[in-house]
Symmetry: C2
Subunit: 210 residues, 2 copies
DNA sequence: TCTTTTACATACTAAGTAGTATGTTATGAT
DNA sequence: ATCATAACATACTACTTAGTATGTAAAAGA
């Protein structure tokens, strides 16, 4: 056929994308289904064809969107670094430098959704938990690698450190959001770096590549 | 004087208290005015007599309630410790140990409100910013004291450290909320403690003080 | 004591809200 | 070509929402 008039997969992901954006900007409870379909080019009928309830859209965003976002932003890039500790610091730096101004007061989508919905909806809680644990666990894998490769002191508890790193990263975005000030990025990056330098067996070099 | 039939101050603070509880449990956008007046013993007419809009209740909670809560929980107790660094660690420990089980997945009220409302409502943002800055600034005052009293290395940048401490504390509650696991309290407390020990001129111990 | 003002209470409204009922049309299988 | 089904579209509903209109009783002031 010449032109496709229907593309269900595309329609669904389109709804996920628009839904993500709207939720990111207004919060899950602050957004209506009408608002989401209004911003996209599909109708309410289509929306409820793909997602039986508004919550189901939110769940799908966590499962398919936020999960992917975390892996892409924080985990996969680490594979390129011989020293994972250096990699973690480097990626943190790059991510905060590249963080767009309009997102400063919007914070981290994962954290936003978790702080808003975890206590309210147990399904959200469980799904957000899974993504957060994935983030921490994958970070820990790289810390273990760093340890065996001699980049981290043998006494370092990798799980504790992984939790610390992710917590501080999330906390950094949350604090930047609350204070509405980019400067906290540098300040907290500096603190994380100092912390990691202490735990490194060889000094973590100063030249963070651009 | 016989019995007071009306006590405007009490009615108002009652609404603040009930409002705080309901918002803490359901989020600001997840709570309705009807819900709040339903849980209290006043009517809708009374509510709107004190607060022209639902948002105004939220603002008042930040200004009068959260601000007080932060000072009482995190700042004022520090006055009792000769070594403020020890005080900060000690209070953190005490607060997480005493943190009730049902609040674990509810997180920190200040952080909740900020993550939910800062991006949505600029008035909330400004008010939450004020409270957060108060927390950081008051913490820094104690860090400066610690420095002059010889408990912290002279090289320590107190503002950066204050931001780091508050961010990690907030982050700790946020992570415990997301993971629904008390163990992260101990893990992150351990990390903060290790961090502060490095910056202390004399070893920070639970039982030993200089 | 009388009057004004504050502190409530009751009933209502207009504008959303998530979700449904009921279509119609495209598409893939037979 | 036919038919079943998936992919939408439109119109509606039952309910909730913040806020208002209007009233009344208790205090405070004169």
């Amino acid at each position: 056929m010449a032109v496709r008039k229907r593309d269900p997969e595309k329609t669904r992901t389109h709804l996920l994308q628009v839904g993500f954006q709207e939720i990111y900007q207004n919060g899950f409870q602050g957004v209506s289904v009408d608002q989401i379909v209004g911003k996209s080019s599909v109708t309410k009928g289509a929306f409820f064809h793909y997602f039986p309830t508004k919550s189901d859209l939110g769940y799908a965003i966590v499962d398919e969107f936020l999960r992917e976002m975390i892996l892409e932003r924080w985990i996969r890039p680490l594979a390129a670094y011989p020293n994972p500790v250096q990699g973690i610091l480097n990626r943190f730096k790059k991510n905060i430098v590249a963080w767009p101004e309009e997102n400063l007061i919007r914070g981290c989508p994962l954290n936003n959704l978790s702080q808003e919905m975890s206590a309210v909806d147990p399904v959200f809680r469980e799904k957000l938990q899974v993504v957060m644990n994935l983030w921490i666990d994958e970070t820990e894998k790289y810390l273990k690698k760093a340890k065996t490769d001699g980049y981290l002191k043998k006494t370092v508890q990798t799980k504790q450190l992984a939790q610390f790193i992710v917590t501080l990263q999330e906390g950094t975005y949350a604090m930047a959001k609350t204070l509405g000030d980019r400067k906290v990025f540098d300040s907290l990056y500096g603190s994380l770096r100092a912390h990691l330098e202490i735990l490194s067996s060889s000094p973590t070099r100063d030249d963070v590549r651009e």
